[in-house]
Structure formats: C-alpha cells, structure tokens
C-alpha cells in the first residue's frame, strides 16, 4: 500500500500555535509573586479589593522587563504602613509608570541586565531618583553618558544612578539650576572618579558656597573641570582662583 505523505507542517505555524498556548501561561506565571504575596501575607485580606489590579499592573510591567518583586516590595511596604487600599492602588499605578519608564530608558541604551535581581535593583534605584526630584531628561543624560563608557551594563548604570543621586542631594542642599543636574551627573559619570568618592563633591560645593560663589558657578566649574579629566582638587583650585580674581 502506498503511503500518503502528509505535507510538512510549516515550522512557523507550529511556533505560532505554541506561542498561542504559552502566552496566557506566561502572563499567569508573571503574576505569580504578587499572587503569592496575596496568598500568604497576613495583611492581604485588607487589600483583597486591589488584588486583580495589582496583578494586572505587575504582569504588564513584567512584560517590559520589570521584575515582579518590586511590586511585592511596595505592597509589603504599604501594608506595613497601613496605607488604605485605594491610596496604595494609586501609588502602585504611579510605581508601574516609573518602573516601566526606567526599564525602558535602560533597555534603549542596552543597560538593562538580563538577571531579574540586578535589573530590579537598577529599576528600583532609578524610580527612587524620580521620586526624589530627578527628571526623566536628567536620568536620560546620566544614562547616555554611561552608555558611552566601557564596562558591564550593570556597573555603568549603577555609576550613572549614583552620580545622579549626588546631583539630587546637591540640588536639595544648594539649589542647582534645572538644566545643570543632568549635565553635572553626565560629567561625573564620564570622569575618572571612583564611585565611592562621589560624595566628596558635596563638601567641594559647600566650600565654594562658603567662599561666596553661586551654585550655578560652582556647578559650571565642576562640569568643565570634570569634562577635561580634572579631579576634585582641580575644582577646588579653580574655585579659589575665581574667589581671588572674580
């Protein structure tokens, strides 16, 4: 008997069928950590009304590279502070926007590490910076500078966020002009300075202000000196020169 050969199933079709079946499974899996929190936390009953929305936010963010653990962390934080469910839901919506925004900024510069633990740390740090007053253009400027340097994605992004964290502190203490924060953070990122020494710039600024220089001028000097490869000592020397010969 002649065997009838069945036409070969196109591999693309098979893949499509597989994706069709796996996609909902992936979404369900991606909301697992949040679901686990609701299943195990003693405070979960209070927040039962926002469970569906929270799981949906976490799943949608996870699809853009945001680890679910960040939502669990915020849920636990909110529950510990006894935040009313509606307020927590509203905060989580803002969080979702911030987490997703930071993840996208990192991803577009190839600075988002594939490991959820590392990407989560970066996204959390970037989100905190936004909450502390950094603008998205500041974040973009610092990450642009990091993307142009050599090294591992995680270390470069961490350096950018540390530098921006420093400018946020400087702004809180000395009031930087808005256009300067991102430029200063970028100059710090590009400089040969060690990350652990970044905070010394705060005392440099304090001394500059004590000498009667404006924040704008100190920031301008810092950017120019750092961009030309100078150190904090060079910034101090330039500030002294400006104080003597204004």
């Amino acid at each position: 008997m002649r065997s009838v050969r069945r036409p070969a199933r196109p591999p693309l079709r098979a893949a499509a069928v597989l994706v069709l079946f796996l996609a909902p499974l992936g979404t369900a899996l991606s909301a697992q950590e949040v679901a686990a929190w609701f299943a195990s936390s003693s405070a979960a009953a209070v927040y039962a009304g926002i469970r569906v929305e929270t799981e949906s936010l976490a799943a949608s963010a996870a699809a853009r590279g945001v680890p679910e653990s960040l939502f669990v962390r915020r849920l636990a934080e909110g529950a510990e502070k006894r935040i009313p469910p509606e307020r927590l839901a509203s905060a989580l919506r803002d969080d979702e926007a911030r987490f997703t925004g930071v993840a996208l900024l990192l991803r577009l510069r190839r600075l988002l590490p594939p490991e959820p633990e590392r990407s989560g740390r970066l996204i959390w740090q970037g989100s905190l910076l936004l909450r502390a007053g950094a603008t998205s253009p500041d974040l973009a400027a610092a990450l642009d500078a990091a993307a142009a340097t050599a090294g591992g994605a995680f270390a470069r992004a961490e350096r950018a966020f540390d530098a921006l964290g420093l400018t946020v502190s400087l702004n809180a203490r000395f009031g930087l002009p808005s256009a300067v924060s991102g430029r200063l953070a970028a100059a710090i990122v590009r400089s040969p300075l060690e990350r652990r020494g970044f905070a010394s710039l705060i005392s440099v600024f304090a001394r500059g202000k004590a000498s009667g220089l404006s924040s704008d001028l100190v920031a301008d000097i810092a950017i120019r000196v750092l961009d030309s490869g100078g150190s904090f000592e060079a910034i101090e020397r330039e500030m002294q020169r400006r104080t003597r010969y204004p």
Binding site: A97, G101, R107, L130, S136, F174, G175, S178, A179
Partner: protein, 194 residues
C-alpha cells in the same frame, strides 16, 4: 559616540518651527512656500516642507500665546543643544516630541523648552530605532513625560523650569503669561535654595 550629522529634515524642521513661531502673529494662512524658503526651488523637499509647515502650524497652535521672540529663541536654543546631542533625531521624532510635549513646553523659558524638546525627540528616535512604531514611541514619550516631572505632583514647569525665577525676576515668557514670581507654578521647591 556618533557626531551629530546635519539632517535635511531637521534643518527644514527648525526653519519651519522658527517660521511658524515668527508667523504666528501674521495670518495663519501664510503660504507654505514662505516657510520652506531654505529648500531648493522646485525640489521634492519643497513639497515635503510645505506639508510639514502645515503640520507644524497645527502643532504650534497648541502653544497658547507663543510670541515670535519666544519661537525664534526656541529654535536657536534647539539648534545649539543639537550640537552636543549624542545623535540627531529625525524630523518625525521631533514632530512627535513637539506634538506630545507641547503642554509641558509652553510654560518654560525657550532654552529649557528646547532642551526638553530635544530630550523628548532623542528618546522617540531611540525607541523607533529599537524597533518601535511611531505610535509605540509616542506612548513611551507620554510615559517619559509622566514619570519625570510630575513625580510628587510637580509639573514640568516646576521640575524643569525651576530656575526660571532668579532673584524674583520672571522669564519673559512667564511675564507674557502674566505669571508672577509668587506663582506656585514657578516658585522653587522649599529647601531647594540656601
């Protein structure tokens, strides 16, 4: 890092922007050929410029009260800022950025508005180069504007234009809008300055 390359679309876009701002006092029905004066006569670019001019005019009509000085200062600042950008965003990215960010740009001084517009256009361009459609890039830009500036209830005018007020002096643009230095929108956040 790639050096910025002068792109014809962008140069045209800037000419159009400047012209559209400058022409806002004049009739809205200004002939499109006027604003595409930079393009070679009879070229395909001229037709494209005419189309873009109409789009730019429609877009800029969202800038309530944008005066000619503000418009030309904006265009000059944008061109200057482009010099230090990592790359040059396309005309499409700039148009998307202006359309989406117009409300955030309007209350800012021209140089801040230009820096923000460029930052937005760079993100849109980057997202599209990464494979997103213009619609997806636009959605990303909305997120970009939402998360960075409005955090803690601040508007971009507060977050990005906080130095618009210096020693009680209000920027020309803010004065045009009748915003006093005491306006909460322009007041620096408490503890910001020593």
């Amino acid at each position: 890092m790639r050096k910025p390359r002068p792109g014809i679309l962008n140069r045209l876009g800037l000419c159009l922007l400047a012209a559209a701002f400058a022409g806002s006092a004049a009739a809205q029905a200004a002939p499109a050929a006027d604003v595409s004066a930079g393009a070679p006569a009879g070229s395909a670019a001229q037709a494209a410029a005419a189309q873009a001019a109409a789009a730019a005019r429609e877009m800029l009509s969202r800038f309530v009260g944008a005066g000619p000085e503000w418009g030309s200062a904006f265009a000059q600042s944008y061109a200057r800022a482009l010099g230090s950008a990592p790359f040059e965003p396309s005309g499409l990215a700039l148009r998307i950025a202006l359309a989406e960010a117009s409300r955030s740009l309007a209350p800012l001084p021209p140089d801040r508005a230009a820096a923000l517009a460029l930052s937005c256009a760079l993100e849109v361009e980057r997202d599209m180069r990464f494979g997103s459609t213009p619609q997806e890039a636009r959605a990303f830009l909305r997120l970009y504007l939402r998360v960075g500036g409005t955090a803690g209830g601040r508007s971009f005018a507060e977050a990005y234009g906080r130095d618009a007020v210096r020693g009680g002096a209000v920027s020309d643009r803010s004065a045009q809008w009748g915003l006093a230095a005491s306006s909460p929108m322009l007041r620096p956040r408490s503890g910001n300055r020593q």
